[in-house]
């Protein structure tokens, strides 16, 4: 029987190698850096997809420099920070932010762990409530120097594009729309001749997506890692380079640049033993990143291509291809936007240095040590743009005031900077007394962040924490932990809070009755209960332009007001500066609290099966909340109090079966995570009807009207008025083909008092993955599937691709299901309609959030598949990412659930790679 070493090394930030592998009481999942390397992405977070049970990952867009994935640990535990990416991230014991994580190279990473339960986050105090992601970078190993060199090249294409209708179909539906607006009498805007021209291909018919996206982008990276050292001096040095460019249809030149990215990174992690009692670590990491893009916002470009119909104009107005087309209504020719406006360059520089010295104090007490460490991390962003403009033409005429200009450079300017200084002191003890083992530590972590911006300028916290872990005979473990956390966000008296945790484990497999069992290699039961906190809050997001992230609410702050102006003096007067209060001070504001409970079991059976399961309960209280129940006459000043409560519960089960036979090895693994939350209290103003409420439902539940088909011709009297026996909608007058809603409160009026839950939240409740790994002689093969379930998508959030024609919009295949009734034209979709009657006008009734527009966002994706061949010290492989997706949203509406809001598409990647070890 293997003896599990008790590795709770707290000096470097609670590094627990997974609940499976250690004698820990905590719920933790871990993945190695090698697994992350399997994904070719300029953002590390995209590589976390499907690898860590309890961590829900939604892949980021493919837009370089804006492509971080969305991470959630055990769902949304609190609406206080109510969104993705609320978990805190620690690298080698020091906190970093999402930007740092995204740009870390997988080759630098030894392991990524997700800390989930109270025992795991016990020492993190107010950084712990929403989970912690702990990353360990690679360190030198004692032994001869090894060199690993890796290169790979990948081709990236959009994983999905939802294309609009062509000119012919567009024009046909447009005729319906204008006729519908004409009292349902047929009044086509496009004549039969025009339609015929579109059909025959003689009319204007431009696929703007094809104009903007060429076949494929590419990704290439290479790194070389030196590792080795003696007992007293070890090193791991990593040198890396990344180059990626997108599939935008732009050739790089002095005049225009494709969306492109380069990264240069270097990290040296050094360990020294000095004078027998000192262990010194020096880690230096630096990155330089360059990003180019066309001088036009990519998100605006995506809106333009979504919104510009196929028949508005050709790319060029003249035969020669010199004059870009453009009109007053559609001024931003998408191809012109990427090729004729110049380009924009951004630079990011990041430098981090960590220093740690650990002193063994064995001469005072055997096993006692003192460790002090410091981290300095700075990040700067800067950039410039080179801009030009082009004249727009239509039928040979200039249509806007834009002039064709030559390219001019803007000044080089800062886009912000931040620095983060942290220090830690830890006094610890680790020793055996007979069959007992005791690990104890206490320490202080000070963190000082400063950045740009009114309230993010300074952010200080101090975390004094401690732990005592007692185990007996490798069978019973009992832990007691605390964090006493101080935060400058609150008034004296509320700055400090105490967060205790207790946890225990029973390693049944070390009991005499199982010790010699062939069936059971490991059987461990865990339980923990404890408190942690969260200090960041989105509640203050309502203070437009002044969001404090939930901080500094204890004082009455005034802000310069830029809304309107007041003057004083005769005639034209002098402008007067004005100062207005921002919010109502709350001296009692304090951190959110989380009371977490967890039970878990880890088992290794028959030498071929591993299972780990956890169930949790997370009770949140004191969530900072905008107090909506304050009466208006208090002065409408925003008032924030710690009054919110939420409950989450769920489980994770992860398992693997592995084995080998001769030259054949295999592993099949899978995991399922479930997290469901309920808002217990969020200071919601009591709605008219109980079923309208957000409270009592999962956070983010889509609340809307219940659609009940479409109004039929028979629902109206001869004058065109809705029959009085039907509930009257309060969203303007209706006509046949408009959406009919259920009058849930049965008061004869359909209005906002009839709303109820019409879908789940956008945050998935279920997350699952399954993988297979096979190896035979030099060949290996692996595949990873991942998916989420119980989440909803509101199509109206992708307005441009959903709402046809309104506001000069486009039409997509979804609009082909529109209700229409023109017997003279042989058009009658009354029985089959799936979409309201078309209109070119704004329509309050049809485009209300309702069950009609809320769709299931579940999906299953083949995330990664890789085939490799190894001979001697060389490995060659081919891999693919996001090769296919199964989703009802994709099938029915052409939308990828991870990319359904009309943003830049997500990526499908094919990679070829080579790895050499020396």
């Amino acid at each position: 029987m293997k003896v599990f070493k008790h590795i709770v090394s707290l000096g470097a930030g609670l590094l627990i190698a997974g609940s499976m592998m250690a004698q820990t009481t905590a719920a933790v999942s871990t993945v190695s850096g090698e697994e992350l390397y399997k994904v070719s992405s300029t953002s590390l977070t995209n590589a976390l997809v499907g690898l860590l049970p309890g961590l829900t990952v939604v892949q980021g867009t493919g837009e370089i420099d804006n492509n971080g994935a969305q991470l959630l640990v055990r769902g949304v535990g609190s609406y206080g920070s109510g969104n993705y990416n609320s978990a805190k991230i620690f690298v080698d014991g020091f906190e970093v932010n999402m930007v740092y994580l995204n740009t870390l190279s997988p080759s630098e990473v030894e392991s990524v762990s997700v800390l989930k339960d109270a025992a795991a986050v016990a020492l993190y105090g107010e950084r712990g409530a929403n989970g912690v992601i702990v990353i360990k970078t690679k360190r030198g190993q004692e032994g001869p120097v090894s060199v690993k060199a890796r290169v790979r090249y990948g081709v990236q294409t959009p994983s999905n594009i939802n294309k609009p209708l062509d000119s012919y179909e567009y024009a046909n539906l447009y005729n319906q729309a204008v006729s519908n607006d004409n009292g349902m009498s047929w009044a086509p805007a496009y004549s039969a001749d025009q339609l015929a021209a579109y059909k025959s291909g003689k009319g204007v018919n431009v696929d703007w997506y094809d104009q903007v996206f060429k076949g494929a982008g590419n990704y290439a990276d290479g790194d070389i890692i030196f590792n080795g050292g003696s007992k007293d001096a070890k090193f791991n040095v990593d040198l890396g380079y990344v180059n990626s460019s997108s599939f935008l249809n732009v050739e790089n030149s002095d005049q225009a640049k494709n969306l492109g990215y380069q990264k240069f990174n270097l990290r040296a992690n050094l360990d020294f033993n000095i004078l027998k009692i000192f262990e010194v670590k020096v880690d230096l990491g630096g990155r330089i990143e360059f990003r180019n893009r066309p001088n036009y916002s990519i998100s605006q470009l995506m809106q333009d291509v979504a919104k510009y119909p196929s028949n508005i104009y050709n790319v060029f107005d003249d035969e020669k291809g010199e004059n870009f087309s453009g009109t007053a209504v559609y001024p931003n020719n998408p191809y012109g936007s990427i090729t004729a406006l110049g380009w924009n360059h951004a630079k990011y520089r990041n430098l981090q240095g960590n220093f740690s010295i650990k002193e063994r104090l064995d001469d005072i007490l055997e096993g006692l040590y003192l460790e002090e460490s410091f981290s300095f991390n700075s990040h700067t962003a800067s950039g410039f743009s080179k801009s030009k403009d082009y004249a727009r033409y239509f039928n040979g005429e200039r249509t806007t005031t834009n002039e064709t200009t030559t390219i001019t450079a803007s000044g080089y300017g800062s886009n912000g900077m931040e620095d983060w200084k942290q220090g830690r002191v830890t006094l610890g003890y680790d020793g055996n007394i007979g069959k007992s083992h005791l690990t104890a530590m206490t320490g202080m972590h000070l963190s000082a962040y400063s950045g740009d911006g009114r309230f993010s300028y300074k952010y200080h916290y101090a975390n004094w924490n401690g732990l005592a872990s007692y185990s007996y005979d490798n069978r019973y473990v009992l832990d007691a932990m605390f964090s006493y956390f101080g935060n400058d966000a609150y008034a004296p008296g509320h700055q400090w809070a105490f967060y205790p945790t207790v946890a225990g484990a029973w390693i049944a497999s070390n009991e005499s009755f199982l010790k010699d069992s062939d069936a059971v290699q490991l059987l461990k039961f865990r339980a923990s209960a404890g408190m942690s906190g969260a200090a960041d809050s989105n509640a203050t997001g309502v203070l437009s332009g002044y969001s404090t992230n939930g901080r500094y609410l204890f004082k009455d702050y005034y802000a310069n007001s830029y809304i309107g102006a007041f003057y004083m003096g005769a005639t034209s007067g002098t402008w007067q500066t004005t100062l207005v209060p921002m919010f109502k001070a709350n001296p009692d504001a304090h951190a959110e609290k989380a009371m977490k409970y967890n039970v878990g079991v880890d088992a290794e059976l028959f030498n071929h099966v591993r299972v780990s399961a956890d169930a949790f309960l997370d009770k949140r209280s004191d969530i900072l909340t905008l107090d909506n129940n304050v009466l208006g006459y208090l002065g409408k000043q925003y008032s924030f109090s710690n009054i919110g409560r939420m409950t989450s519960k769920g489980f994770e089960v992860a398992g693997a079966v592995f084995g080998k036979s001769g030259d054949f090895r295999f592993e099949v693994n899978g995991a399922v995570s479930y997290a469901r939350n309920i808002i217990d209290e969020m200071s919601e103003v009591a709605p008219a009807n109980y079923f309208n409420a957000q409270t009592g439902r999962p956070y983010g539940t889509i609340i809307g009207l219940m659609a009940d088909g479409f109004y039929d011709v028979t629902d109206f009297d001869e004058a065109g008025n809705l029959n009085s026996s039907l509930p009257q909608p309060a969203f303007g007058s209706v006509q046949p083909g408009d959406v009919k809603y259920k009058d849930l409160d049965k008061n004869g009026l359909v209005d906002q008092n009839d709303v109820t839950a019409v879908g789940d939240s956008k945050f998935p409740e279920w997350s699952f993955n399954a993988g297979i790994k096979l190896a035979w002689k030099g060949f290996d093969f692996q595949a990873l599937f991942q998916g989420v379930a119980a989440c909803s998508v509101n199509l109206l959030d992708n307005w441009n691709q959903t709402v046809a024609f309104v506001d000069n919009g486009n039409a997509y295949p979804i609009a082909k299901g529109a209700w229409a009734y023109y017997p003279t034209e042989n058009i009658d979709t009354r029985k089959t309609a799936t979409y309201p009657r078309l209109t070119t006008q704004s329509n309050q009734n049809n485009y209300q959030t309702s069950s009609l527009w809320v769709k299931n966002g579940d999906f299953l994706k083949l995330r990664n598949v890789e085939l490799g061949y190894n001979f001697k010290n060389v490995r060659l492989y081919l891999s693919g990412q996001n090769l296919f997706t199964i989703s009802s949203l994709l099938k029915d509406y052409g939308l990828d659930p991870e990319s359904c809001y009309g943003y830049y598409p997500t990526l499908k990647t094919y990679t070829f790679g080579l790895i050499m070890n020396f």
Partner: protein, 600 residues
Amino acid sequence: MKKLYRIILVALAAVSMSACQSYFLEKPDTTGTVDSDAVYGSKKNATMALMACYRDVLLHGWPGDMGIGHCTLGAISGEVGRGYNWHGSYFISQSGLTVNGTDGSDAGADHYANNFKKIRECWALYEHIDECVDMTDAEKATIKAEAKALVAYRYMGMFYRYGGVPIVEGTFQASDDLSRGRATIAEMVEFISRLCDEAAEGLPTKWDDANIGRINKGAALSIKARVLQYAARPLFNSATPYLSMANAENNTMICYGNADKERWNAAIAANEAVLSWADAAGFYLIDSDNPFVDYATATSVPSNPEVILAFKNNQDYNALSNFINCSPNQNSNRYDTDCSGVLTNMLENYYAADGTELSWPKIGDAAPRAGANWIANIAKIEPRALADIKFGGHDAMNNEGIYNWQNIGWSRGGYSADMDKGDVFPNAIDENKGCGERCKFYYKAGSRLWFEPPLFRMAEIYLNLAEAYNEYGNSAKALQNLNKVHERAGLPAIRETDQAKLRQIIQREYYIEFFQENGNRYFASKHWKREDIGNGICGGAMRMLQFNIKAGSQWPYAASTIDTYWDAVAYNSFWSPAMFLEPFPQSEINKGTLVQNPGY
């Protein structure tokens, strides 16, 4: 010894870490923002807080501070068109005032909660100004009086919008009783009057040139005068409300519960007090027997002697100029005024310059009229109309000789006109532009976009007196005051003494004199309980003159190119009796303390 040294070192490290904690977590070091200590720590900062109060409080009801993002109150009371379909006025015209608001308002045509936000700013100033060290006691007393007057101003606006609202006499603390409900009409009048009296005590008779724009004593008295005027008008001064509350005991929140003629006497006293102050302070009705210039000056020229208080807004490009300056100088937000042409409903109020009635086309006319008739009518119309409106095909008369104020430079056309549309009669060619566009407030403004909305003018005080004396039964005094304003406009004196007929004439005078000013037509019509309120004022048919232009004419069409013209219904506006007062936001009612106005 070595061991001891080590232990000391460890202890020292621990102590030094914890020692710096209090410093480490001290007061936030935020950039660019000041807390209340700093605001009231210096005269300079405190003055900024005062200016914020002025800026926030005084704009009530004007574009930029009515809760509604797009429109003027005239667009929902029959002065001008309802705007584009995204304008709040368009929605209100279609669906009435609603408890969920529209286009940024939290209910109806106001932002209820914003009122109290602004009042709180004033009370915070009032309560903290004594903390200011580098300010004299006299300066502090004046600022306190200003704060009270500003609170009164905002309450005045709420008074005629909602009836009784909760009375707030300071900034609330968490420990305060937060469950107070709405005050009665009587309590509102008592409260606002008291604030005005206290403010008037502490305010200067007039401000020196550098401080013009701040509230003077006359403005405080004017607030009281307008409040008492509204208190005496029949909507509130009545035994029964316009609609009964669900619980009749609450009716005192929307009417006095008795009709009392003496309320007109109180209004007379309050308005006469303003006149006495004006005499002493050098404010007067501008009347130099040059009617066009006098009226145009009084409504347009900054710091003119007729304006008791104006909103000193001397900045181009903001909501005010966006929705009121219709000239081509306004080139950033032309959509904001594009569909807000002047309605026939308004046009018919103007007299001919000789005091007679003009003859306009009517709905139902058998045939359109000739373009020459239009030119003849405009030639005859009274000077105030020419200062208020750039009539179709004519130049704006208020900026003579300036291209951007002439028809030739009016690149949008500016009236419901189109070529070769004679066959459209009797229907509308265009439902947006009417007989012309507004040019009021811009006399001799040239290319500047800003104007100073007059909040109180001497003309209002005279008309208030005319109305109050007429209601009190003193037609001689009524005519004396009415004719001050009427004759200033170049019109022959009114001699009508029949109370009911004179009432109509006085109301018409308000409509003309206060076109586009302070939502007068929107509020006063309701408080007069006009029988035609749902029939051409707030609700009912909104009419626009339609102009058929001769074929081959040059854009922008001059008046000489008009072939025929007629009146047509542009659209119908929604009216229900609930709309006599504004609704409270549903979200506020749901909190369970406030009582909603009836009918919502």
